[in-house]
Amino acid sequence: MSELLRSYLTVGIFGVAAIAMAGAMLTIARILRPSRPTRQKLIAYESGVDPVGGDWAQSQIRYYVFAVLFVLFDVEAVFIFPWATRLEVYGVFGLVEMAIFIFILLLGLFYAWRKGVLRWV
Amino acid sequence: MVELIWLVPALPLLGFFLLLLIGHKVGEPGSGWIATIAAGGSFLATLAVFVGLLGRDGHAGDRSYEFILFEWLPAGSLKVEAGFLVDPLSITMALFVTGVGSLIHLYSIGYMHGDPKFSKFFLYLNLFLFSMLMLVFGNNLVVTFLGWEGVGACSYFLISFWHQRESAARAGKKAFVTNRVGDWGFMIATFAIWSALGTVTYTEISNSPAMSAATGTAVSLLLFVAAAGKSAQLPLYVWLPDAMEGPTPVSAMVHAATMVTSGVYLLVRMNSVLTDDALLVIAVVGAATALFAALCAVAQHDIKKVLAYSTVSQLGYMFLAIGSGAYVAAIFHVITHAFFKALLFLGSGSVIHGMHDEQDMRKMGALRAVMPITAGTFIVGWLAIAGVPPFAGFWSKDEILLAAWEQKNIGPLLWFVGLVTALLTAYYMSRQVILVFFGKQNWEEDVHPHESSWTMTTPLCLLAGAAVVGGAINLPLVKDWLVLEHFLEPIFHHPHHFSSGTATKIALAVISVVAGLIGISIAILSWLTRRIPTDRLEPEFLENAMYVDATYARVVGGTGTSAFQKTADFDSSVVDGSVNGLGRLIMKFGQLIQPTQSGYMRNYAIGIAVGALAIIALLAWGLLL
């Protein structure tokens, strides 16, 4: 067995161990706990709110727009963090680059705002 | 100044486009002037190029200038450039093409007055001039062929310009079909030359080693077929008399002065490949055509038909000259003929115009009093074509007859045929002049002939001048006066020299002049003074051109048509059948694979996945091998 595959073997063993452990705990719990099902107990857990209607419910399209905007700025943050940690190294060059990047993103936000996307009607 | 060559064809092309865009808005006479100025400008540019060419040393061989526009068809070993070749031959042709052409443009402004398609006529004229210049200046066979087809197309358009007339439409069709035979010869010759010599460029062809005798003769004869189609030689001449259905300026320019001489030009241009056997054929066909057409001209009543047969006959002379190896004489006659025949046609046009579209000579007579300028200039043209010295026609015809006399195999016979033709020419032209301008008044009372406007008479006077002195470009009296011959010399592989002594030359010249005078005398005796009864002088046999045309019509119409019908049946059943069957097969195959285009994205994704797997499999298979 090659060196490469041997190191994967470790991963394999670790995985098997993890599955075995989780399985063992769940099995033990199942054996030990008493089982008295009621209707209330079998309802899907929704943060304490009773689920109403089917699962093909319509959701507000605004959620979608906000989600997109959120992802946008999330990605912006992901891009800014590494730069921030090496701020001194990149110096003026980095500053200008980042300014352009943020400017373009802000332009997008500005456009979205002007087009009325941010209004929650 | 030689570099200005591009301007020469560019100006008529520009004129064409201008007329295409704004012609119908400018109307009459503006569009006529646009076309005339384009043609005149082209003439001036040609003059400039000519002067530039003269400035170069004639003997060092650098009077040949190639102007390459672009590499046109780079196809493997065949490299065809779109370029112009300026050398003594092409510039000589171009000078009279643009010169005579400009005069005819000017003339047409008067002649086409009041025609509803006035601007369209000039559009075609400009396009024709452009094509003709491409033909003349093309530096290889392919460019020349483009021009060749271009002048052909313009010729059909112009013949059937008044296509409301059934006969005009038919004449156009006839010219088209007959010319296709010649074009076929041109194309095959081009391919044959390419495969034999590996080039189609003139300068390279003339520097190539000779082809084998058989190939050379075949190529020569194919070229002659091409030339015979365009220049109306036996047996392909039939379209030219009918082409007189076109407006008269067209007859003068396209069917007398320029286009029909392009066959002569082609053979002279390709003189290096013509073999002796082929030359003999050319000489015989030329002589036969000359005699045949002259006989036909004797009995025509239509003023333009006489001139048409006369043109065929004169073209026969030119081919006789080529066949005898006297290329300079051929070109010389092309030029003088352009002058006097254009003059005669324009004169006849002036008569027709003045007589309100009457073309029958029997209904004319005594017109010299009412149309003095037309009559005077027409008489000059008559003397020139009849070979009366010192008019232009005498010199060129005399040189051809001398060349025929010296032909190696059957010289005296060719000369004799030429002589008879000369006599007949003098006769039928005198008959025409007498019938139209002399004798008694035969037109009806309600016709009021009148002299034409200045735009029509000016070209007549200028051409008359040229017909008088045109011979001066190649006078045989003193060796240094053979200007044309010395100018054209670099073109030829085997320069032709007359071997006869001075006494023979003079004797031959005298005989031909006498023949001409005899012809004129007969005409005067029979048609003017009526000493000879005229009722036997116009046999129906000749009036109908020996029934050649009718025979063609019967063959093509009878057995020909049924043969064509069979071919068409074969085409529709077997050829079309197999093509359609193949088409259906392809459709079937298409329907078989059509379900793959289901419209479902999942299926398309599967297609991509399968394709990817197939590619990987193919690559893996390649690796295994």
């Binding site: - | 196809a75 392809i586 694979i593 059509q594 994205m601 991509i608 990817a612």
Partner: protein
């Protein structure tokens, strides 16, 4: 860890001049968005069209300047060899800019007629064009992928922009999902290429492959296969073409023209750069596969085309078969073949843009049945002649640019001794000609007294059609200048 010290960052040298064409386009896109956001009422079509045209023109001038630089100093590359500046990149920049200007003109009448939002369309178009230029110029697979995505994302949205039409949405979804699917193949191919050669940079890949003989080249083969799949999808080569007819049919006509011309051209640019330039030493491996794809594409494209009854679907399959011809040229893996491919793409772009210009102007995009064109020759003779020229050019009739293009492609195939493929190209050209002639016949053969259609015609469309027809005929008669341009544009990989 005390040894950490601040070292001044030295970025790769950037030849800003070389990046200027796409920077101008992106700048124009931002400007259009900004102005339309600030403007009190909806920005006019005139403003957006003029802005796009100006951007294209400026970019074009810069590209010409770059061309003279390349002519003088030879090809170079910038940003650590990630971005090539050679005849190839400039050829495609010019082509893409022509396509951009044309599409902008076409959209002018279209956006007004269909009441679509001009600024968003133009901003997306400009971004898409910038992406296409990046894709054609990139010397690095990752940069190329970025360009591809910029190009594609713009197109996805442009297709869907016609939000009142469900067909447009269907097209957009189909193209988006399948595009993402094929992008995955492409990315995986890039990853495997990196695994096989240790770099994503084409210059490095080329020199590595030249220097190293593989004992076991499975990885490289798999990489090639996956790259080929990803790019074949973009150029709509069979069997990755299924999306094309559906998407072309549903998309707004100007966008269809853009997809059929520029998206395809950019795809081929990437294909040529990767396979012809970078994998040149392994052409014995990839050329047969490309040849097989070419044959399948030619056959399916031409055969399916003649079964269609909808003009846009016909043209879609015809564009599939055109991709086949370009693949034939790529297959020959020679400089002759590459310049034949470039010539083909250039002439084809103008033909297809002109064709879709006419199709778009003929009426709304619901469906384009052939019967809509019946009698066009009588009612609008000039348009009919223009369309006829463009169709005959696509069929490859002599005296049009299409003939010269097909001729060169087949000549390249013959030169590389691929006689079978050359034969298939000729046969499919005949099959394809049938389809084009069907459209021409429909325009001219009409019953007596029947009136043809009289579409509302915007003058910008006339400009485009006139230019396309003129170009097609001029190149058909005097092809030399374009042949030379294409000859000078064979891709070169240089370190820089």
């Amino acid at each position: 860890m005390g040894s950490l010290q601040l070292v001044g960052f030295v970025g790769p040298s950037v030849n800003w001049w070389a990046l200027l064409p796409q920077i101008i386009l992106l700048g124009a896109a931002l400007a259009v968005l900004l102005v339309s956001a600030l403007a009190p009422q909806r920005a006019s079509t005139v403003f957006t069209t003029v802005t796009t045209l100006c951007a294209a023109l400026t970019s074009f001038v810069v590209a010409l300047g770059l061309w003279s630089d390349v002519k003088a100093d030879g090809p170079s590359s910038s940003i650590a060899s990630a971005f090539g500046v050679d005849g190839f990149s400039i050829f495609f920049t010019v082509l893409i800019l022509i396509g951009l200007a044309t599409t902008a003109l076409l959209s002018h009448g279209y956006l007004d007629r269909e009441e679509m939002d001009p600024p968003e369309f133009h901003a997306l178009l400009l971004c898409s064009a910038a992406g296409a230029i990046v894709m054609a110029s990139a010397n690095d697979l990752i940069v190329m992928f970025l360009g591809l995505e910029a190009l594609s994302i713009g197109i996805y949205v442009m297709i869907a922009m016609h939000h009142r039409r469900s067909e447009a949405r269907e097209s957009a979804i189909k193209y988006f999902v399948l595009g993402a699917f094929s992008s995955a193949f492409l990315l995986y191919g890039i990853a495997l290429t990196y695994g096989a050669t240790g770099s994503t940079n084409l210059v490095h890949i080329r020199s590595y492959l030249d220097a190293v003989v593989f004992q076991d080249q499975h990885l490289l083969m798999a990489a090639m296969a996956l790259l080929l799949v990803g790019l074949s999808f973009k150029v709509a080569a069979a069997p990755f073409h299924f999306w094309a007819p559906d998407v072309y049919q549903g998309a707004p006509s100007p966008v269809t023209g853009w997809m059929a011309s520029i998206a395809k051209a950019a795809g081929f640019a990437a294909l040529l750069r990767i396979f012809f330039a970078a994998f040149a030493s392994h052409d014995v491996d990839w050329a047969p596969i490309v040849g097989a794809l070419a044959v399948i594409t030619l056959v399916i494209g031409s055969v399916m085309a003649i079964l269609q009854t909808d003009i846009k679907r016909m043209l879609a399959f015809s564009s599939v078969s055109h991709a086949g011809y370009v693949l034939v040229a790529v297959h020959s893996a020679s400089a002759t073949g590459t310049s034949a491919a470039l010539f083909y793409l250039f002439t084809y772009t103008l033909m297809v843009l002109g064709s879709f210009a006419i199709v778009g102007a003929m009426g709304p995009d619901d469906e384009h049945p052939l019967s809509r064109y019946t009698g066009l020759g009588r009612s609008r003779p000039v348009i009919a002649i223009g369309f006829t020229v463009l169709l005959l050019a696509q069929a490859g009739i002599p005296t049009t640019s299409g003939f010269i293009a097909k001729f060169q492609v087949i000549a390249a195939a013959v030169e590389s001794e691929s006689y079978f493929i050359a034969g298939v190209s000729m046969v499919t050209a005949v099959i394809g000609a049938f389809m084009y002639l069907r459209i021409v016949m429909a325009m001219y053969v009409v019953d007596e007294g029947e009136e043809g259609p009289r579409p509302i015609w915007h003058w910008t469309t006339s400009v485009v059609v006139l230019a396309a027809v003129g170009f097609t005929i001029i190149v058909g008669l005097v092809p030399q200048f374009l042949i030379e341009f294409a000859r000078d544009a064979v891709p070169v990989l240089v370190r820089g």
